[in-house]
Amino acid sequence: MSLSILILLPLITAIALLLCKGLKPVRLVALSGAVVQLIGVLILFFYYWQQRAAGNTDAMLFVEDHVWFAQLNIHYHIGVDGISIAMILLTAFVTVAGILVSWSMEKLNKEFFFLLVLLSLGAYGFFISLDLFTLFFFLEVAVIPKFLLIGIWGSGKKEYSAMKLALMLMGGSALVFVGLAGVYYNTQTVDGAHTFDLIQLAQLHIPEAVQKLFFPFAFIGFGIFTALFPFHTWVPDGHSSAPTAASMFLAGISMKLGGYGCLRVAQIMPDAAQYYSWIIILLATIAIIYGAFATMMQTDLKYINAYSSVSHCGFVLLGIGMLTKTAMMGAVMQMVSHGLMTALFFAAIGMLYNRTHTRQVAQLGGLLKVMPFITTVFVIAGLCSLGLPGLSGFAAEVTVLMGAWEKADAWYRLATILACASIVVTAVYILRAMGKVIMGPLQVEGGATITLTDADWNEKAAAAILIIGIVAIGMAPFWLTVLINH
């Protein structure tokens, strides 16, 4: 099986979408493309599992390597390890759910689904790239669809948010570019050529001075994508202005591009990662605590989830910054877990908003009685977010914190304790918002005349897919840990 199918399939779907006319064929094509892709990813997962079980110990499997720009030694080089598989699985789940949630998107539907598919294409390509050039290429492919999705279909101050997001992410890629160019020119393979190849760069020892100089560029560049403090400001605006599916993609997939990138950067420049570790930890801890407290002050459901994303993505960076094997594994788990959970959260918020036309916590109340399914989904997402055992959030955060505790240094201990304590704050804002929205007397301000209905089949399916993922990780995290550890 050729790994390029992962890129080709969304491409074919996107082209097929351009030829369709009308909402019904468009959404059908988009959904079938995403479902086929999901099946393909699951097959890939089992193949991968088989290969590993059979004792294949190569760093990367299903590798394809074609020369792209021979003179610059740029290759179209793709392959997967456990981390990539985990991220691809996440992408496939969220894509299907996102398309299902936008089932009745009327406005410019062809363009909408086209951009969603393009965004997922960027993510797939990014996660399987083994060449920094292709990695960078796909990273940027995923930026523009976000700008258009937010700007055209968004709500509130959408143009501002779209522009802010696009410019900050472009700033991130500009920094990444400088990091890449520096690494490229300052390393040489055995035959004297410069290279962008991830595997070769990881094996070559990049000189320490070079690492120290270019690690910050690459790391901060990718960090911007994953809401590294203080470059997180695009997250709340972007997420809350985006249409539901775009929020899901943004928080569920796109922020993970950054986390994954940071991880790879730390792998190819281990010395610099060690050297700057304390700064990463500091910023991650600030993001965790600041994000949690900022969430407490929010009154809009989307803003609540957006700020809590900043806090949760802090755990990803914390895990990467700790540099212990367990913590890194926890970081990947947290990425997957947060991707699923936050997508579910945004989906639930979108469903609520479609019916009540408000996202203000103060204006909602007692929805459990009229919308049992949606509110249950909402509660599951919330409980996962606050780290209830049995759901994925718990498994991931515990792994990060356990890994962090392995670092005996007082500074790291302090950071770990602070990060751990933030979970209490998380519980406060999640429980408070949930209690207000679903319990108590029924109340929908400004929309009293609207008849409230429960979820449609497509919304149920979307939620079910994501919940399956969350529970599968929460109940049996071992499959994910084994996958990542191989």
Binding site: F137, V143, I144, I152, M170
Partner: protein
């Protein structure tokens, strides 16, 4: 000898023959505008095809004229651009009284560029440059009824004369300092004596004028705004492209021994050019002025690429110009069409453009993304290779400045995309039908934008040509 002459100068000869055909037709027949345009487009297509047949290296006239596969490729890129411009302006020309004159002037400038690129001697270079810029002034004046058009022509001829003066002064000093004007001998004679450096600075200023490098850019915006769209696109892509080809070649052959000197100069110039171009582009409301400043910023990025090591610099510049031909002409194509039918040229006119003209909107958007450097368009690869070439020198300050400036340029390109897709407009541009020729030009451009980047073969091909030099 005679066969050599025909083979080596084939592109110049073809253009000359076309010019004569057009002249004779103008004098001898009474063709309608439409059939004249059809015929010329056919001839230009023929010219492009002929360019790809049999390319050889060699020199003529005692080293005055030289050619090699890279030069042939550069000329082909210009021929391609000419064809696209001609297709795009078909609609505007149809209603013009002086179609044949326009084409003859256009082809004269193209001929001048060809001789300039092939020059092996500063005199030949100068003659080619003049041949390429004097007819241009007449072209800038081609909206005969508009005052702004005459103003543009006047500004162009004065600034261009000034640039030529600087160049001539530089050339005469070079001759005084070294006793020769031939490129091959100059490269041995230039040692970095103060007089030679002074001469070089004058030459550099002349070049800088032609490609509108800050602080020699002041003529650009006004001329772009006043001239007819076809001429503006010609000026910004073909004319600049040809001078860039010569510029990067001369820096790396004749002035190779002064590399350290010109590296620092280009460092300063490129930073200034990118910054000023970007900052002014943000404020523009006229689409043509906007594209003028954005093209200044693009030149800044090209200068970053030129600072790299010779082979990478030449490759990335030639590659970028090819990409630039497609992207900028695609943008100009849409602007030309809109301007020809509705006369509207403001950025704010494009608000709500997507509602009325989805196809044109996508073409314009793809073109702007390519100019901004967003993958998978060719512009991404072009910019990437330019900056990578620049980074090869290890001056990361320059690369960081350039990379951060990408964000600013992103802002103003996205501002237009935002106007097209997101802003509401009470009087949007009405639904336009796209005539056959402009449609063909757009298809060529969009296909070029998508294919040029993804086909890695092209870059390697250009590199192989530079390597053979």
């Amino acid at each position: 000898m005679l066969t050599d002459f025909f083979i080596l100068m084939k592109q110049e000869l073809v253009i000359t023959v076309i010019i004569f055909i057009l002249l004779l037709l103008k004098i001898g027949t009474d063709m309608s505008n439409e059939s004249f345009i059809n015929l010329t487009n056919g001839l230009l297509l023929l010219n492009l095809v002929a360019g790809f047949v049999g390319s050889q290296s060699g020199t003529l006239f005692d080293g005055m004229f030289l050619t090699n596969p890279l030069i042939v490729l550069e000329k082909n890129i210009l021929s391609l651009g000419t064809l696209i411009v001609s297709l795009q302006s078909a609609d505007w020309l149809k209603r013009h009284d002086h179609v044949s004159e326009f084409y003859i002037l256009l082809l004269c400038t193209l001929l001048g560029m060809f001789f300039m690129i092939s020059a092996g001697n500063l005199l030949m270079f100068y003659v080619g440059l003049e041949l390429s810029s004097i007819p241009m002034a007449a072209m800038a004046n081609f909206d005969l009824a508009k005052k702004k058009s005459s103003e543009a022509a006047m500004k162009f001829i004065i600034s261009s004369a000034f640039a030529s003066g600087l160049l001539l002064f530089g050339i005469s000093l070079v001759y005084g300092a070294t006793g020769t004007l031939s490129f091959s001998e100059l490269s041995l004679q230039i040692t970095g004596a103060p007089l030679q450096i002074f001469a070089f600075v004058l030459l550099l200023a002349g070049f800088a004028f032609k490609i509108s490098v800050v602080p020699f850019h002041l003529w650009t915006a006004d001329v772009y705004e006043g001239a007819p769209v076809a001429v503006t696109s010609w000026l910004s892509v073909i004319s600049k492209g040809s001078v860039l080809f010569v510029f990067v070649a001369v820096l790396n052959s004749v002035f190779r021994s002064l590399t350290d000197t010109w590296y620092n100069m280009l460092f300063v110039l490129s930073v200034l050019t990118i910054l000023i171009g970007n900052l002014f582009a943000i404020r523009q409301n006229n689409f043509k002025r906007f594209l003028a400043f954005s093209s200044i910023a693009q030149i800044g990025f090209i200068l970053v690429g030129i600072t790299g090591s010779p082979n990478y610099a030449i490759t990335s510049v030639v590659y970028f110009v090819l990409v630039y031909v497609f992207s900028n002409l695609a943008a100009f194509g849409v602007v030309a069409l809109v301007s020809a039918v509705t006369g509207r040229e403001q950025v704010s006119d494009y608000k709500g453009f997507y509602k009325t003209n989805p196809v044109l909107s996508w073409v314009l958007t793809i073109a702007l993304f390519s100019l901004a450097g967003v993958p998978p368009t060719a512009g991404f690869f072009g910019k990437f290779f330019l900056l990578l070439s620049g980074a090869g020198k290890g001056n990361y300050v320059l690369i960081v400045i350039a990379a951060l400036n990408m964000i600013i340029s992103f802002y103003y390109y996205l501002r237009i995309v935002k106007a097209i897709f997101m802003d509401a407009n009470e009087q949007p541009i009405e639904k336009l039908s796209i005539p056959a020729y402009p449609r063909l030009a757009m298809i060529i451009c969009v296909a070029g934008i998508i294919v040029t980047g993804l086909a890695g073969y092209l870059y390697d091909y250009i590199y192989a040509l530079t390597y053979r030099l």
